[in-house]
Symmetry: C2
Subunit: 327 residues, 2 copies
């Protein structure tokens, strides 16, 4: 269904209204959820209000505490507050510290929901003329290479850097499919593409329900995707004092956000001018047969957001709207 952005905002705020947060805090979360749907990243949008662990059920269990702080870093115990809210705060801290010192790394632990799309955080960092890197881990759903046990989460990683135009934003999951993607596929009665998942005995499956009981695979099915998943598990787990390789114990999520000032090595004006030229070289290169336009990472999402802003409307899945009682 198509829905007016302002109506969607109001519906999301209503859904979040019983979580014990202030309206201002919930508005931050709502904007991020709607940003994902506007970007066409549906598994990170209002779909997060559905399923067995909906975002609106994430209620603080304690205060937000800074557990460690240096000039270059901060570790935040989120006290059970929703990860998108705390990771927005972490992003602001990373920007402030990197602007002052050239580099910053902020970790977030003790959250029990996904922090949603990494693109959201890194784009904000790049809009301040800094390079952004964001990673997150969560409850295990993905089997490492050669294993059939779920030990890694979806484990997304995002990068962004400034250019003379819009920042380049690249965001990917190291798993072949997100957990939310499995939920959506199940809700829509869809089968999965091949080579995405295995059932609990380790046999290939295209059934989202069997995949949820079994495991998803690394995005490329190889040691490379698995190795990247391991790196994200480490940066979002042991490095931020969060759980790791945790099948079901506590459903904790961990996030890491980094900001780097290009001025540490080169003038940021040169960096932006060269990165813009680099993008131009890629865009104007010879295309594969059947390709209209070479798309850079983040380009489709930005176009989708632009269309949503112009029309004032955003598309959400009927199945999600139905589950939320909006249809």
């Amino acid at each position: 269904m198509k829905i007016a952005i302002k109506d969607l905002r109001s519906k999301v705020l209503t859904a979040l209204s019983q979580n014990g947060l202030t309206e201002e805090q919930n508005l931050c979360i709502a904007e991020q959820v709607i940003w994902a749907d506007m970007s066409g990243i549906k598994p990170m949008g209002v779909a997060k209000l559905t399923g067995t662990e909906p975002l609106q059920n994430m209620k603080p269990t304690g205060p937000i505490t800074i557990e460690r702080e240096t000039k270059l870093s901060q570790l935040i115990d989120a006290g059970g507050y929703p990860a998108p809210l705390i990771c927005q705060q972490a992003t602001d801290v990373a920007i402030r510290k990197a602007e002052e010192h050239g580099f910053a790394m902020v970790g977030v632990r003790n959250t029990f929901s996904s922090n949603l799309a990494q693109a959201f955080y890194v784009e904000k960092i790049a809009s301040k003329d800094l390079i952004g890197i964001a990673m997150a881990r969560g409850p295990a759903s993905t089997a490492p290479f050669e294993s059939i046990d779920p030990l890694f989460a979806t484990n997304p990683i995002g990068f962004s850097f400034p250019t003379n135009g819009e920042p380049l934003v690249f965001d990917m999951t190291t798993a072949a499919m997100t957990w939310s993607g499995l939920i959506l596929a199940k809700a829509n009665g869809e089968t999965l593409p091949p080579n995405i998942a295995i059932d609990p005995e380790g046999s290939p499956t295209t059934d989202p329900k069997a995949a949820m009981a079994g495991a998803t695979l690394p995005f490329d099915g190889s040691y490379k995707g698995s190795g990247l998943g391991l790196i994200v598990e480490t940066f979002g787990g042991p490095l931020v004092g969060s759980l790791y390789c945790d099948p079901a114990l506590d459903h904790e999520y961990g996030s890491l956000i980094m900001a780097i000032d290009p001025n540490l090595l080169v003038d940021v004006a040169d960096f932006k001018s060269h990165s813009s030229d680099m993008i131009q070289k890629i865009k104007s290169s010879r295309k594969r047969p059947g390709v209209d336009e070479i798309r850079l990472p983040g380009e489709r999402a930005r176009k989708s957001r632009k269309q949503a802003m112009e029309s004032g409307l955003v598309e959400i899945d009927d199945s999600v709207a139905h589950e939320l009682g909006w249809l």
Copy 2:
């Protein structure tokens, strides 16, 4: 052929002896080349002494200059010195700065050879209880997703982190095959696996010669591998003041080495204990049918080095030995 490590060292030093460097400098380079062959990473070993741009032909054109320096960073103009030598120096600088300040980033430009395996640098960083990240770009050989023009290089990225045992070392190319791999395949009269490369017109090819005239593909053939290649191109190109998306102009290479102290966020002792436990969880998980042992990144290379050290012998390709006049 099997060759004694000490004989190989002597042969490599002889090959390097006309490059204008000191014997001590060439010993650094020789050790790194032999380390790669001992690790079983043949394209980064003595194979680098063959081909159209052999490592021994890299001769300094100017002094090594520090172009920018901050507490957290250094940008090195290598003056045409071989990249492996300067990147070893860069690694030492990164370690020293990160030990003092918690983070460091060192860039190397104005080199005209590959810096060889990223694993070599990041393992050294992790052996000092720091997290290591290394990336490198070079002359373009890989087509971005949806393009058929070579614009990215092999673009490897390596990560390493300390544990209570050996560091975990993960090193991968973002291209489906290294340029050296193509050279080796051509020399050995081998055909390439499918989905690795395209010819100059963009059609799939398994002929290494056609691939060298055309382009290799991102490792997974998708926007994810291509996006990672783009990130490495950016970090090893515009961020270090090196060239980028450069098909043949100047054959410059750029490298970036980062070191991060886990103490910025958590006690390094806790980090190591948790990362060791994480590895144990992965190693002891249920295996895929047909898998004897779940291998972690870097495990095979370390085993290969251990065997070489115990036997005093290392295996190198006959075709390489022949080209070097050693057979």
